[in-house]
């Protein structure tokens, strides 16, 4: 071993060890946050924040089906009881109002601070008379059951008023004391897990707790249904884990088999694995260092890297074969000759790929940025391993023959045959461009869901449970921001006044607001000031009840409570957090990561309402309130997605431009540059046109796939150009191209079969795209050579 060898090996092993050390401490996540972009403006930030870490990320929807109604109700109660005993849940709701007793007591105690009716007029003689009449009008009806016990303490019905506001809109159907679906066939529950949405281990534990609790009490025939963001996150992590494993194992076996058959050498096979493994290890470690964690999807993508990284090994193993070709470096050892001949092209290929993926690294989608960084680091590591480590292991490439000779034959045939179809390719390319022009408006996907790793069935169940539980459209809400909490609360009160008007008009069924529980200090102050002292109140009450059916002397408890309220400490966000009301308000006031408070007002729309008209009415009603924004979650996400699709398209174009510039610098010849670019352009056009004709809209991940096609295809096209330039028909180089292409088509074909939509999208683009890139590169291989009339392709049998 030379000193150089030792140093190389030491550096390589040291780098691998360092990467391994990083990976050991890496946090792997699989929540949906990687698919949510870092939002550009304040209101989108509020939305994303809410989706990422808000209550939505912790809410589990539970359904119980099968059996009869009584069994389902009993199961719902038993399940809720068990869940409430678990520390994993902050709140478990199943429509059983017994669970709200503590909230009820809090409301009674704080009614003069939170009732919207409290005003100076209300405590005048006239106001009191009217309020008392209102309350008395409930007596003698079934509603009296809730009024009577409090009649002497709360004759003005403040508790009723508060309840009226809080019980707005639809609400789930209740039967046998628990929530059921509108058709009555399903008992419904909703739970808020205590752990953060991103803490997937805790979420998985919470889900298991529910399953165990259900199994422990379930009557045979009852079926548990679970949905909600935590369930999706846990499931997709599981799916990504298992699929990544399956893909990695199947891919490895397939590649291994292929390489073994081709090279007929175990040693060659082992050597081919080195760059791939080094690339993946380096990619994961780099992403971990840059982003502080690795998303499961990035790992899934790692399997796709096998496809390109193994090419480097193949190029080396075949092209460095000893004494293969003539030329100026014929007498040198294989690896040294390869450094002069094959490596510059591979290096350029690596640089172009890096250039393409570097563009992605700047994406606003954390998931895409991770893919970009992963690919850049992985490809560089794989290339460096090929360049420095493989020559140590196999200085003369692979010794085995195997199928290689046949590959050479086939590759030669390919180069001979395809140029005859060159005009066809050109024609197809023009046709493809026309197809793309014709379908340009339907070419791109506009739904964020195309990035979601969830199955359509899971989404359908979720939509169903959500519609039943959260009544109406929880996807429209008003977000209110402000410089400080008090400002936010005052603005929410202003917004509430406008929303009340819409409720009166019937355009809204109801809404929720933090200020129902935590009024601004100004409002609390105003209400406190409206409460009269005992003497005044007693006098007003006497006047108000004169000749009425409820005598004033029975209302001393009311006077006491009002005096008590006059002295009560104001409700603050801090004190509220210690009360039974806290779980209800958690969803309505969120503390952003920047420490700024945002209030969210979910709206309940009347059944069959026109969402767009409502949105417009809301915008109109709230236009002059600072910091108030109307959000339609679906629209907003679509807008964001379009923004990022546009950004990704720009980045892809930028990346492609970088690739072209790089090749231009290397080739230093416009005709050669054009010759190299033409096949790539054709491959991309044909692939896109194929998707357009199949009616599949292209999403961001298809775009990533196209970038990969350009990255991989540039290798083919550069090698073809190099051969042409050398006036050479090195059969080994052709064989290596063909083999590299087969491996890529196979490995991405495998990925195309994945059940994870994001992965299969990449696979479905790259597999056909790479094949097309090879065919078109071969087709145009002899373009610039023709005028010189040199025989581009020698008869292969001479050298076999």
């Amino acid at each position: 071993m030379t000193r150089r060898t030792i140093i190389t090996l030491a550096l390589w092993l040291g780098a691998l060890a360092a990467c391994a050390a990083v990976i050991v401490h890496t946090r792997f996540s699989a929540d949906l946050s990687a698919f949510l972009p870092a939002a550009p403006d304040a209101r989108q930030r509020a939305l994303i924040e809410q989706l990422k870490s808000g209550v939505a990320a912790r809410t589990l929807l539970i359904g119980i089906r099968g059996g009869d109604a009584a069994q389902r109700a009993a199961a719902s109660r038993a399940l809720a009881d068990r869940m409430r005993a678990e520390a994993a849940f902050e709140q478990v709701l199943n429509g059983d109002f017994a669970a709200y007793a503590a909230v009820g007591r809090w409301v009674v105690e704080h009614r003069y601070q939170i009732s919207p009716a409290v005003s100076t007029e209300r405590f005048s003689a006239d106001g009191l008379r009217e309020a008392i009449d209102d309350t008395l009008s409930l007596l003698g009806t079934p509603a009296a059951a809730s009024v009577k016990p409090l009649l002497e303490r709360d004759p003005t019905g403040e508790v009723q008023r508060i309840a009226e506001g809080a019980l707005s809109g639809g609400g789930p159907r209740t039967r046998d004391g628990v929530w059921v679906s509108r058709d009555g066939q399903r008992a419904l529950l909703m739970a808020l897990s205590r752990a953060a949405g991103a803490d997937l281990d805790a979420q998985a534990h919470a889900l298991q707790t529910i399953r165990d609790a259900f199994a422990a009490q379930a009557t045979p025939g009852l079926v548990l249904e679970l949905s909600g963001a935590p369930k999706f996150a846990v499931d997709s992590r599981e799916q990504i884990r298992s699929e990544t494993k399956t893909l990695a194992i199947t891919g490895t076996i397939m590649m291994g088999g292929l390489l073994l058959v081709t090279f007929a050498s175990l040693r060659a096979l082992a050597a081919a694995v080195l760059p791939v493994a080094s690339g993946i290890v380096a990619g994961v470690a780099t992403v971990s260092l840059v982003f502080g964690g690795v998303h499961g999807m990035t790992l899934g993508f790692g399997t796709t890297l096998i496809g390109e990284a193994v090419d480097y090994a193949i190029y080396y193993l075949i092209q460095a074969r000893g004494g293969a070709a003539g030329g100026p470096h014929a007498d040198e050892p294989g690896w040294r000759r390869w450094l002069h001949e094959g490596w510059p092209t591979v290096r350029l290929g690596v640089l172009t790929s890096v250039c393409g993926f570097l563009a992605l690294a700047f994406s606003g989608f954390p998931g895409l940025a991770q893919l970009g960084v992963f690919s850049v680091a992985g490809l560089i590591a794989a290339a460096l391993t090929t360049r420095f480590v493989l020559p140590l292991a196999l200085p003369n490439g692979t010794p085995g023959v195997g199928l290689r000779r046949h590959l050479g034959h086939w590759a030669d045939r390919l180069v001979q045959v395809t140029p005859r179809a060159r005009h066809w390719f050109t024609a197809l390319g023009i046709a493809a461009a026309l197809v793309l022009l014709w379908r340009h408006d339907r070419l791109w996907e506009s739904e964020l869901s195309s990035l979601s790793p969830l199955s359509a069935e899971a989404l359908a169940l979720d939509a169903e449970l959500r519609a039943q539980l959260l009544s109406g459209d929880e996807r429209t809400l008003v977000a209110v921001m402000g410089p400080d909490l008090e400002a936010v609360l005052q603005r929410v009160e202003a917004v509430s006044a406008r929303l009340d008007a819409l409720v009166q008009q019937g355009r809204l069924s109801g809404y929720e607001a933090i200020t129902r529980w935590l009024p601004s200090q100004a409002t609390q102050q105003r209400r406190r000031a409206a409460l009269p002292d005992a003497a005044t109140l007693r006098a007003n009450l006497a006047a108000a009840t004169a000749g009425g059916s409820l005598s004033a002397k029975r209302l001393e408890p009311f006077i006491d409570d009002v005096q008590h309220a006059r002295a009560a400490a104001p409700i603050s966000a801090a004190t509220l957090a210690q009360t039974p009301v806290a779980p209800i308000t958690a969803a309505l006031l969120v503390q952003g990561s920047d420490g700024q408070a945002t209030a969210l007002l979910p709206l309940v729309q009347p059944a069959g309402a026109d969402g767009d008209a409502l949105h417009a009415a809301l915008e109109q009603a709230l236009r002059d309130i600072d910091g108030a924004h109307v959000l339609s979650v679906g629209d907003e996400l679509r807008r964001l997605y379009r923004h990022y699709l546009g950004e990704a398209q720009g980045q892809a174009l930028f990346g492609a431009l970088g690739v072209v510039l790089l090749m231009g610098c290397w080739l230093r010849s416009l005709p050669r540059l054009l010759a190299v670019c033409k096949p790539l352009l054709l491959a991309v056009l044909l692939t896109m046109a194929g998707f357009a004709l199949a009616g599949v809209a292209l999403g961001i991940l298809h775009l990533v796939g196209l970038l990969l096609v350009v990255a991989v295809g540039s290798n083919y096209s550069l090698f073809m150009d190099w051969l042409r330039h050398q006036q050479s028909t090195d059969e080994d180089t052709l064989a290596s191209l063909l083999l590299a292409n087969i491996t890529i088509v196979l490995s991405f074909g495998l990925i195309a079969l994945s059940h994870i939509p994001a992965l299969s999208a990449i696979g479905r683009v790259v597999a056909p795209g790479a094949l097309l890139a090879l065919l078109t590169s071969a087709a145009y291989a002899s373009a610039s050579a023709r005028p010189r009339a040199a025989p581009m392709v020698k008869v292969p049998s001479e050298r076999a």
Partner: protein
């Protein structure tokens, strides 16, 4: 405990009353429902008196009631203060002064039962009544009494029974007896009504 025992005895009582009524009576529940189902729409004035133990006086309300087949029922109180209660299908709209509230009826089952007691009787929807109540009919088509006892124990804790008196397809008096002894009597004076041809 006492309330529970009372509830149980009510249950048993209701059951005995139900069981005791002969199945081959000349005018039964199904006959009554058929008679009532003739009605397409109707409008009436009402006077409601509530007898509430904790109050010194009887409360009196007047206003109009209207029913439109199949499922719209409206009660507009005019005195002492305007108030309205309109239910159509599963949607309940309450208005008092300037305040309007809308509720899904099936989200408050006790309320749904009370609405069904009126609406089911107006429309002759026997299955709706039987979903929430144990019905008993006494008398003849010319003068009948329908007694409704809640089936759900939660509602039974609030409402002891409803007694509805009528004449042919007209509902004349609705008496509501609450579990705590309070009661209300709604006297209906038809203005107009339309029946099926």
């Amino acid at each position: 405990m006492r309330a529970d025992r009372r509830r149980v005895s009510l249950w048993v009582g209701a059951w005995i009353v139900g069981a005791a009524s002969p199945a081959h009576a000349a005018f039964g529940f199904d006959d009554l429902m058929r008679t009532l189902a003739q009605r397409r729409s109707g409008e009436a004035k009402f006077v409601e008196q509530r007898f509430v133990a904790v109050l010194d006086q009887t409360l009196t309300y007047t206003g109009t009631l209207s029913y439109t087949a199949p499922d719209k029922l409206a009660r507009h109180t005019l005195t002492p203060r305007p108030e309205s209660f309109v239910v159509e299908g599963n949607q309940l709209t309450l208005q008092r002064g300037q305040r309007v509230r809308r509720l899904a009826l099936d989200s408050v089952p006790e309320l749904a039962a009370m609405v069904e007691a009126m609406r089911g009787t107006m429309s002759g929807d026997g299955s709706a009544l039987q979903r929430y109540f144990k019905p008993t009919v006494q008398g003849a088509a010319s003068r009948w009494t329908l007694t409704l006892v809640p089936l759900d124990f939660r509602l039974l804790g609030v409402v002891r029974l409803l007694r509805i008196d009528g004449h042919q397809s007209d509902v004349r008096v609705v008496e509501l007896q609450l579990a705590d002894g309070d009661r209300s009597v709604l006297t209906i004076d038809p203005i107009s009504s339309k029946t099926r041809p």
